[in-house]
């Protein structure tokens, strides 16, 4: 059986698709929010070195990615192991080497990967303008503004994605997520004024 076909079967059998969607949105949102906080914090603290912000952001990204992977993998593995044992009791047979057992192991790993990679993707995308600023493409002020705009856009898009899943108003859902980011931005800017 082809590799992709096998993956599709494991996803179907384990029912991991909706769970990984949730993990993806939750953690991508976490990633964007964290970097938004770091970037705005750096702006409020009047940090002029892009590298400081980039390294702080990358440190947070690595921590979020690793904690996401380990946390989701271990939680999912424990839950699925319990489910598999219950099923084995009902079936009066061992299912470890069946498609059910393999799909269960795959689902734990898949959940871990999604949980680990999604905040990293969002975070690195938000940090991208600062990379350009560090090589002299933009000024740091413009890079921070662009980084905040990207973070807020990611939040809006995640809301749109949620709206599409629930088949409700995509702009309303996008706006809800966007406002969370906006609140963080406004609170920090207010702190700077004070």
């Amino acid at each position: 059986m082809k590799f992709l076909e096998k993956l599709r079967r494991y996803i179907r059998v384990s029912g991991i698709a909706p769970i990984s969607r949730r993990y993806f949105i939750m953690n991508a949102f976490d990633g964007a929010t964290t970097i938004l906080g770091i970037v705005i914090g750096a702006y409020v603290a009047e940090i002029t070195s892009e590298l400081l912000v980039i390294w702080s952001g990358l440190g947070a990204t690595l921590a979020m990615g690793l904690s996401g992977f380990v946390g989701a993998y271990m939680t999912e593995e424990a839950e699925r192991e319990k489910k598999l044992r219950t099923l084995e009791k009902s079936m009066l047979t061992e299912l470890t080497n069946s498609v059910v057992g393999r799909a269960s192991r795959f689902a734990s790993l898949w959940a871990g990967i999604v949980d680990g990679v999604s905040p990293a993707i969002a975070a690195v995308t938000c940090l991208a303008p600062l990379f350009f600023s560090s090589v002299g493409v933009f000024s740091i002020d413009f890079a921070i503004q662009l980084s905040v705009a990207i973070a807020l856009s990611i939040m809006f898009l995640l809301g749109v994605f949620l709206g599409r899943i629930s088949k409700r108003n995509i702009f309303f859902h996008g706006a809800k997520m966007f406002f969370v980011g906006l609140i963080i931005t406004i609170v920090f800017l207010a702190l700077k004024v004070l």
């Binding site: 059998v13 099923l87 009902s90 047979t93 299912l95 080497n97 069946s98 059910v100």
Partner: protein, 98 residues
């Protein structure tokens, strides 16, 4: 040379009947598969599986079912040979069922 096989199978809800019947139908010597769920439990379900073909490999079928997480409870009917012999009702069957 098995031409028809009727099995009583216990299976988890996932993989579903569509997936299971497709997997069985791709095996060598199998020409048609029919899967009927006749009992559903909280964790598992019982299925009657009818397999027809030119030369069905019983061990291959069993292996595939186990790979899909199912177990064969009983082999309820086997038709083998050049011609499929259908079940016939006899007076003894009638009296036995009364």
């Amino acid at each position: 040379m098995i031409r028809r096989l009727v099995l009583d199978v216990l299976k988890p809800h996932n993989p579903g009947v569509v997936e299971l019947s497709e997997a069985l139908s791709h095996l060598d010597g199998v020409e048609g598969v029919n899967v009927i769920i006749y009992e559903i439990d909280q964790q598992v379900e019982n299925a009657k599986i009818i397999i027809a073909g030119s030369s069905i490999d019983f061990e291959g079928i069993k292996k595939k079912l186990e790979e899909m997480g199912a177990t064969v409870h009983s082999v309820d009917e086997v038709a083998a040979g050049k011609r499929i012999v259908e079940e016939v009702r006899t007076p003894q069957d009638r009296s036995a069922r009364m």
